[in-house]
Every structure is written in C-alpha cells, then in structure tokens.
C-alpha cells in the first residue's frame, strides 16, 4: 500500500539549545518500555545461584550489620521500635533507590549499541532501569512486612502512603539518574564515582540513625536530601512514629521536582550527541 499524501513526515534537521520534552512520543513507546523492563528483569538474576533472593539479602545483610554496629555497639536511638526493623524500614526504600540510581546512570553506556544503531526515545533506558527495580523492592517490602509481624508492630492505615512514597523514590532515582547517565556518556568517571556517591548518600540519609537527632528547626533542611524525606515517610507510615514527615517531605518533594524537570530537559538537550560521543 503506497503511503498516503497525509502520511506522517519525519523532519531531520540540526538542533541546538533546549528542546521540548516530547512526552507524547514517550507515552507512545510504552510497549518498548515494557519489553525493556521485561528484559532487564529476565536477565538480572540469570546464572546466579541465589536468584531473586538477592533482592532480599541486600537489605537484610545491611540491616544485620547496622544492628550490630549502630544498634548494639553505638546504641543509637531507634524511636522506640526494635533497631533491626527500624533500620530495615529505611534500608528497603534505600536499597531500591541506590540500585535504581546505579542502573539508570549506567543504562546509556551499557546500551551503547542501541544508542548508535537505532532511533528510539532515549529516555526509555533510564526509565526502564528505575521501573525494573520496583520488582526487587516489592520482594524486599514483603520481608519488611514479615519483620513487622515478628516484632508485633501494628499495621495502620498509614501504610497506604507507601505507594506514593515509592513514586517519590522512583522519581528521585530517575532525576539523579538522568543527570548522571548523561554525564556518564561523556565522562566514564561517573561509573567509578557511583559506589562512592551512593555510600556517602546512604550516611547522609537518616537510615542508620533517626532524623530526630537533628534539631527540630533544622529538620526541613534535611529534606534537601530527597531520600531523607522519603525514609522519614516510610517510618511514619510503617513504624507508627508520632511525628509526621511534614515539612521535611515537602522540601524533599520540591527538590525532586526541580531535579527531575531539570534532568529531563538536560537529557533532551544532550541526547542528540549521545551516538556521537558514547
């Protein structure tokens, strides 16, 4: 069938400066996104002995170490709940965030061949990394729920806030991941700096310790680190801590929004050079 006169016309022209986001094209590519997520899920634990158990082991082992060092030895305050479950409530969203961030940051570099050989909305690569991580999170979250049952921590309606908090965590991982992924294309230093970055970020976030250690009037400042608000939110939703994440979380959400919108535009601006540079 010959193309009609009204057939879609693709115009290829030089581009400079900021480009529109074209989110519609992104939405139209949902099937490719689905397959990219599926591929990364199917491949992730292939040829490993423990398979998806790694999704659980990562936060659990860190929890064990934290409990020993910060709970037993340093005797940090854990807001009246047993330290292990206190730590795990922070580690489960954190582990998701750290993995999603790392994978999103490396997503472009690892798919070099796709970048140089085929056109598709490049945003799908970091987006797929961030979405695929949610499955691991779901598994780890079930373990967290078991821990809560084990320590007789009552469930409340606040648990309904968890999906919203996870959207925020995914947005944070995507936002930071977009910037780092673009930088990674040009400077492979990013790959080496990432483990260090996530480690520093881990301790800058109230996971091993409680954010109540910070004087009350400074707490909204802690929210400048978006993960701080999200981790506080998790503890509020699950561990029945009295004080809501309020101001901290609001600051965090504002920071994430800025970082994300900026990251999207930066990504769009830089993506046309990916195939030349990667």
């Amino acid at each position: 069938m010959p193309p009609q006169a009204h057939a879609r016309v693709t115009v290829v022209r030089p581009a400079a400066g900021w480009a529109p986001l074209h989110l519609r094209e992104l939405v139209e590519s949902y099937e490719l996104l689905y397959f990219l997520v599926l591929r990364s899920l199917k491949v992730r634990y292939k040829q490993t002995l423990l398979g998806a158990a790694w999704a659980v082991l990562q936060p659990l082992l860190t929890m064990a170490i934290f409990s020993l060092v910060f709970g037993r030895l340093a005797k940090l305050d854990s807001e009246g709940v047993p330290y292990p479950v206190f730590a795990l409530a922070g580690l489960v969203p954190w582990t998701y965030f750290a993995n999603a961030l790392t994978q999103a940051s490396n997503s472009l570099v690892e798919q070099e061949r796709m970048l140089t050989k085929i056109y598709f909305p490049r945003l799908l690569l970091p987006l797929a990394s961030v979405i695929a991580g949610l499955i691991d999170f779901a598994i780890a979250f079930c373990v967290l729920l078991c821990m809560m049952v084990f320590y007789h921590i009552p469930f409340t309606g606040r648990i309904l806030a968890v999906p919203g908090l996870m959207v925020a965590a995914a947005a944070t991982a995507l936002a930071a991941g977009l910037w780092l992924a673009v930088l990674n294309v040009r400077y492979r230093d990013v790959r080496h700096a990432l483990p260090f970055l996530t480690q520093v970020w881990l301790f800058a976030t109230p996971i091993a310790y409680s954010s109540t250690l910070v004087p009350a009037h400074l707490r909204p400042l802690v929210g400048l680190n978006p993960m701080a608000g999200i981790v506080d939110g998790f503890r509020w939703a699950l561990l029945g801590r009295a004080m809501g994440p309020g101001a901290t979380l609001l600051v965090s959400l504002a920071v994430v929004s800025l970082l994300l919108v900026g990251g999207l535009y930066y990504f769009r601006r830089m993506e046309r050079t990916f195939a030349d540079v990667v």
């Binding site: 193309p3 115009v11 030089p14 491949v43 085929i118 230093d189």
Partner: protein
C-alpha cells in the same frame, strides 16, 4: 524528481565531527588538563582547524517505491548519511524529510540479549525496531519459519551458532513493514544461501509492497540486483546520482585497490612463498565492458597484466592465474604450462599479460591467485590470494540477468527439438 512524489528528500545535509573526538570519550581529568593547557581551545575549534566533515552538502530525492543504492568507498559518508536519516545522529546542517513510517536496519540484532531465548529476543528486537506487540504476534510464525531455527525457539540465544543468531535477527527485521526502509551493510553477515534469501525478501518487499528502500552495500552484485538508482558518495560529498549501472561503473572506476580494474595493484607486500628469484610486483586486470568500468562479466574476457621483477635471467615453464570462490574452492586455473611454452624473464621488470578469452563465472566476488614456477624444479613465486575481483552483472533489471539460484559457473545452453 521532487515535491510530493519524494519519499525521502535530502537538502544540503552535512555532519561535522571534531577530530580526535570522533567516537571517543574523555575522562574528566583529561578535560581538566586540556582546559588548563589550552584555555582558548573553544575558539580554535571554531576556526575550523580540527573539524572534519563526514558529510557535506549532500542533496537528493528518492521517489516513493524506489529502491536506491548508496555506494562509495570507506569513509565516503554512507553510514553517516544513513545514521542521520535514521535519526541516530543529528545533522550539523541541512534538512531531510522522510514521508511515511521509517524502519532502519543499521545492524542486525540490535538489542538481542544472549541470555534471552529466541522467542523473547524476537519480541525484544521487534519492539526496538518499532513493531507493535500485536504486529509481532501476527507475524511470529512467519518470522520463525524464515529464520529456520525450529526447535531452538526456547533456547537462550547464547547457545545459538552465530549463523543462527544472524538468521533470527534478519528474520525479525525482514518482517518489519515500514513505508521507508533504510538498510546498511547487513547482508555481509550470514552464509551465501541465507544472503540470497534475504536479498529475495528485500526485493519482494520493495516490489510487491511498493515501499521505498535505501540500501548501502559493498556487494555490487546485490546493489545491481536490487536498486534502480544509485547515489555515489566520495569523501563526504555527493559525486553522482543516476541509473545503477552508470553509477556502479563510475564507483568501480574511481575506487582504488582491490576491486578496481585498470589500476595497478601493488603486490610487493602480499603473502607469498617461493624461492624469490622472480616476484610478482604489481598486477592489474581489465575486461572489455566499458559501461561497467572495465569490470569482468559472465562469459566476457579477462586480461591480467603482470609486472614481474626478476633478479636474474629465469626461464619459466608455468605462469598461472587461479580464481577461487570465497570459500577457497579453486574454480579456474589458467596455466601457461598447458600451452607448452616457456617464458624467458630478463633481470629487472618484465611486463606481460594473460588473457582469458571467456570467464565462465557468474556474478560474484572471487579471489585471484598468482603462480610462477619452473615445473618439477622449484616454485619461484606463489601469491595464493593476490586480490579480489568482482564479476558483474552486465545488464540489470530485476532478476532478468541474474537468476538468484544460479550456480557459480556459466554454461552455453540451447534447446534442441528432437522430433
């Protein structure tokens, strides 16, 4: 041709790269060091000293339903052009308009993951090429049949032979149904049998489907079979546009080295054996097909002109030109020993030629070897693979001149009425 008929309209397209950074990346440290060393580097770049145009000022139109070939040597800008049209890279200047859904195939099997099964990879690869899941579902059986992978459908692709991987990847791509198909040198992979099948499929797509195809290949035989019109690129610029035969002839006449008749091919560094009392120094070959740039054609003549450097007076009983196919099967051995004459070589450079009156070979690429010996005594110089020659299709026009499943050699055929 232009206006509403054009499926692809390219207008003064150009792509500039900065030299030294083409395909490269730098670490942050290098960037800092360089910035410290040359704070005015940015201005220097703008002065145009270290920029390189991979493509410049290229304009052409391709009509709807046309199959156009892009030919040119290495670095001519063919791949850059295809990458721009595929929107993988952004042009530096100019404009291109493509009417209809674009499918591009710059590589076979982009997005294949070795850990996934054949079935999973078909879906993955299809989605990457821009197919909808429903579309893949519909064509799935056809794709599998084309790829001939049968019972290995649910085996991880890493257990496949490389041939199977290529077959599967091409099968997916071949079932893509875009209105404009952009294909880079993908047929270079796979065995000869499958290459033929792919060519057949592409021909079917363009002829029956009325689709526009833009095709890059080094295989002139494939270009001649598929394309009605060709575009010749040279060092990033447009050299000529015209009917396939004219352009292919022009390309071959321009191209230096292996595939070019009437240019001298240097053999002093070729892999060889023999006592070295005389050595093949250079060779050139020519046929009488002026319209194909002197390239040999089936049943046409082939003249091999040789320059032989001798260190002492030598009498040679056997001077031979051997033609092999690409698998190394010896097809023709044109040896002077069969003539029963000896050749006397003087010290210094000797010029002589061997003329094969009729080369009974069908179109394709063949390897030519050279042999010089005193029979029963010594091999003087043996260059088993001196260079490649391509036997061309003399006329084009679809399958008319070169049926796809021709054998390698020609024969004279007639029908006799025995009644």
């Amino acid at each position: 041709m232009s206006g509403p008929d054009a499926a692809i309209r390219v207008d003064r397209l150009g792509k500039r790269y900065r030299i030294g950074r083409v395909r490269g990346y730098r670490s942050l440290r290098e960037e800092i060091v360089e910035a410290a060393r040359a704070p005015f580097r940015y201005r220097a770049e703008r002065s145009g000293n270290d920029v390189f145009w991979a493509l410049r000022d290229v304009s052409f139109d391709i009509g709807v339903g046309e199959v156009a070939g892009i030919v040119g040597g290495n670095g001519a800008g063919k791949s850059t052009l295809l990458k721009i049209l595929s929107r993988v890279v952004t042009p530096t200047e100019g404009l291109a308009e493509i009417r209809g859904r674009v499918g591009s195939l710059l590589e076979v099997g982009t997005g294949f993951h070795p850990e996934l099964t054949g079935r999973e990879n078909v879906y993955m690869n299809g989605a990457i090429l821009g197919m909808r899941k429903a579309e893949i579902d519909r064509k799935f059986d056809e794709i599998i049949a084309f790829a001939e992978i049968g019972q290995f459908l649910d085996t991880p692709v890493k257990r496949y032979s490389s041939g199977m991987q290529v077959r599967l990847a091409f099968a997916v791509a071949a079932h893509l149904e875009p209105e404009v198909l952009i294909v880079d040198e993908v047929l270079a992979v796979g065995d000869a049998q499958f290459q033929k099948k792919c060519l057949g499929k592409m021909q079917e797509v363009s002829r029956l489907g009325g689709r526009t195809v833009l095709f890059v290949s080094h295989n002139m035989n494939a270009v001649q079979r598929l394309c009605t019109r060709c575009i010749l690129l040279e060092r990033g610029g447009l050299k000529a546009v015209g009917p396939t035969n004219t352009i292919v002839g022009e390309y071959l006449a321009r191209a230096g080295g292996t595939l070019s008749p009437a240019t001298s091919i240097d053999l002093t560094h070729a892999d060889r054996s023999g006592d070295g009392k005389a050595r093949f120094a250079a060779a050139q070959y020519v046929s009488d097909a002026v319209e194909a740039g002197g390239q040999p054609y089936p049943d046409g003549p082939l003249e091999i002109r040789l320059a032989i450097e001798a260190s002492e007076p030598t009498t040679v009983g056997s001077l031979a030109v051997t033609l092999y196919d690409q698998y190394g099967t010896k097809l023709v051995n044109a040896d002077t020993i069969s003539l029963g004459e000896t050749i006397a070589l003087r010290p210094g450079l000797n010029q002589l030629a061997l003329r094969i009156a009729q080369v009974h070979l069908n179109p394709g690429v063949y390897v030519l070897g050279l042999w010089l010996a005193r029979p029963l005594e010594a091999v003087i110089d043996h260059v088993p693979a001196a260079f490649e020659i391509e036997v061309m299709t003399r006329e084009t026009g679809g399958l008319g001149a070169a049926p796809q499943d021709d054998g390698m050699v020609t024969c004279a055929l007639e029908v006799l009425d025995l009644d």
